[in-house]
């Protein structure tokens, strides 16, 4: 009985705060837009009893999903988001790995301090930090001032309102999410394993590739998911740092909701986004499970 309650608790939580809202979003995505509050039809009218449910059900269709395939803006935005997410995940990994490695190898008394430094940016508002990047990257910003003053460049660099600025913002924002799982994996790594690899004829570098990297695989996967998934749907960073060329699905979603006030199309965009993200994760987990079973 107590166990049942313990198991039920997280499921109730998930059902109330994820499943139910998601079902509502699916329902809206199947509705038609309307000049009303809420801005879609049909709405369920239970006062009419069974007949009300029937008309409500008859009003639902896949029209919005068909619309998404007709206008190339949407799939372009999806592809562009995925591309930006993949590239920024790779950049974050290549910057985060050395940092996590250095932290894990640092003297033990240093590690809490280093960890603190990684988490510290969370203590100020995310929005302020992104605005700060505007001040750094703009044409008259700190970066250009320094580069001009030192004579490294003659004309100011145009970074702000380009995809480069979006990448900088994303990598900066999501770096801690990459570092923390990597650090957790690398910190557990037994130093004797690297010595054993060297003892058996590995150079330092090959010991890293043959031992350190495979043994931090779990951390790499966790870090990549933690960065990739939110970046695909990222809205604030492309809105503040990106320009007209920056096409991301988060921005499209926002515009559908707030500029067009087309809730059904926006909901359809969100449902497809979720499907895009969930399918690879499920496939990946299935594969992991199969591997584990094969090892028996």
């Amino acid at each position: 009985m107590r166990r049942a309650v313990l198991i039920l608790l997280p499921y109730t939580w998930l059902a109330a705060l994820f499943l139910v809202p998601f079902l509502i979003v699916i329902k809206i995505s199947l509705s038609d837009t309307a000049l009303a509050i809420p801005p879609y039809t049909p709405t369920l009218d239970l006062t009419q009893g069974w007949e009300g449910i029937r008309t409500w059900w008859a009003g639902l269709d896949f029209e919005n999903f068909v619309f998404l395939t007709e206008d190339d803006l949407y799939w372009k935005a999806y592809l562009s988001s995925l591309k930006i997410a993949v590239i920024s995940t790779l950049i974050t990994l290549s910057i985060g790995y050395p940092i996590a490695y250095g932290m894990a190898r640092a003297p033990e008394e240093w590690r809490p301090t280093l960890m603190m430094l990684v988490i510290l940016p969370f203590w100020t508002s995310f929005l302020i930090r992104v605005y700060a990047w505007k001040a750094i990257l703009s044409k008259e910003g700190f970066l250009n001032q320094i580069l001009l003053a030192t004579g490294l460049i003659d004309d100011p660099l145009i970074i702000l309102n380009t995809n480069t600025a979006v990448y900088i913002g994303i990598v900066y924002t999501y770096l801690p999410f990459m570092i923390l799982p990597l650090y957790a994996a690398l910190e557990k790594l037994d130093g004797a394993l690297l010595e054993a690899a060297e003892d058996l004829g590995c150079s330092r570098l090959s010991a890293f590739w043959l031992v350190t990297v495979p043994l931090s695989k779990q951390g790499i996967i966790a870090g990549c998911f933690l960065v990739f998934i939110p970046v695909v749907g990222e809205f604030v960073i492309p809105a503040l740092l990106g320009g007209s060329e920056t096409l991301m699905i988060g921005k499209v979603l926002w515009e559908e909701f707030f500029s067009n006030r087309d809730w059904p199309v926006a909901s359809a965009v969100a449902v497809i986004l979720l499907a895009i993200l969930i399918i690879p994760i499920v496939l990946f987990l299935k594969n992991e499970e199969k591997q584990r079973e094969a090892e028996g």
Binding site: D190, L193, E195, D199, L200, G201, S203
Partner: protein, 382 residues
């Protein structure tokens, strides 16, 4: 056929007694410091080919540092280490013909047993069939054929220990280092594995250097033992000589059980002296070296099993002292008696329980005679 050559006695393996023999490893005045701490203090030592050499000492005595210097993970601060006459200081660990079996085994958790053993061979870029043949050979040697496809976490501690051994032997190193190889096994398995180790060492002809704090383990497996303390070697000798002729009270006390009796020595003959340790008790007659001067303070060391416990004074023994039994410890195979001599000196004596469950001859507070021969103990001046 009368002059058929007499069969020579089998040659005893003792290259350290042969002045012609060339040592495989030479430590020459090696000192290793970590900051202020001196781990190894001006140490000189020769280890010969095919030896099973044990470095024995309490934790922090520097034995692991010596092993890590041989493997290449630490460099000596001063002095030289020679392998086959070559200074190995500039050679990195991955290029040394030395392999190590780690205390934690350090098996690669993401690789199968087969791949763990093949790891070193693959680094040498050997052809595939050669690698496979060598791995199979190692699996047979360590009786692991059935587990080749498993991962390290899917086998028992004893099997893991054998994988670690197979992996470190796979490259046929000139020298194999074993860092507390049996420390993680339970007692019974440890004893079996000790004999297995000796067997494998003999079969492969590899020189083994083992680090251990377990004196029984060192005594069982080693051809020679170096007893270490505070970064220095206190004594290097065969297990029998370490036990029966310890160089000083530290070695005598570290190896096995011993009674250490402090007294003053007086010469009584060419190689005999007497050790007086209490006003109330007769002095002990003992064998001693010729250069012992009269009246110096000595420690007399005698092992409990050399002492006979009897009810009456035996006539044929040079040393006989009367005392009172304070404590009796029954260990199954032997019983130990703690006997107090006049003057308060406590002596431990061990008697073998050669018959089953017979009535015990002695009990608490009995007065008994302890007796031993002149040659049973040693006089130590350090």
């Amino acid at each position: 056929m009368a002059d058929k050559p007499r069969k020579l006695p089998q040659e005893v393996f003792a290259p350290w007694e042969d002045p012609e023999a060339k040592p495989l490893i030479q430590f020459r005045n090696v000192t290793k410091r970590f900051g202020e701490f001196t781990a190894i203090d001006d140490l000189t030592l020769d280890i010969y080919e095919r030896e099973f050499f044990a470095l024995l000492g309490p934790s922090g005595c520097g034995k692991t540092t010596m092993m890590r210097m041989l493997a290449g993970f630490e460099a000596p601060t001063e002095g030289q280490i020679l392998l086959d006459g070559q200074n190995i200081a500039p050679v990195p660990p991955n290029l040394r013909p030395v392999n190590m079996m780690f205390q934690s085994y350090a098996l690669f958790p993401h690789l199968s047993i087969w791949d763990n053993i093949a790891f070193g061979l693959k680094r040498d870029k050997l052809p595939k069939d050669k690698i496979a043949a060598r791995v199979e050979e190692m699996l047979r040697l360590t009786r692991l054929e059935k587990f080749a496809r498993r991962k390290p976490h899917q086998i028992s501690g004893g099997q893991r220990q054998r994988v670690a051994l197979a992996r470190s032997l796979a490259k046929a190193p000139k020298l194999l280092l074993l860092d507390e190889p049996l420390g993680a096994l339970d007692r019974k398995l440890r004893e079996d594995t000790q004999f297995e180790l000796m067997d494998i060492q003999e079969k492969t002809g590899t020189t083994f250097v083992i680090v251990t704090h377990d004196q029984e383990e060192a005594m069982t497996v080693a051809s020679r033992i170096a007893v270490m303390n505070h970064g220095k070697i206190v004594q290097v000798d065969t297990p029998a000589r370490i036990y029966e002729a310890p160089a000083n009270a530290y070695v005598a006390d570290f190896i096995g059980d011993v009674n250490l009796i402090e007294g003053t020595a007086t010469r009584t003959g060419e190689d005999r002296c007497s050790v007086r340790f209490a006003e109330a008790a007769d002095p002990i007659t003992a064998e001693c070296t010729a250069d012992l001067s009269d009246g110096i303070a000595v420690t007399y060391a005698i092992r409990p099993e050399k002492i006979l416990v009897t009810a009456d004074r035996p006539a044929d023994r040079a040393n006989a002292l009367e005392g009172q039994i304070i404590d009796i410890g029954y260990l199954g195979n032997i019983s130990t008696y703690h006997v107090e001599l006049p003057g308060g000196q406590m002596i431990k004596a061990a008697m073998t329980n050669s018959t089953r469950l017979d009535r015990r001859d002695f009990t608490w507070d009995d007065r008994v005679w302890l007796s031993w021969r002149e040659t049973a103990g040693v006089v130590l001046t350090e």
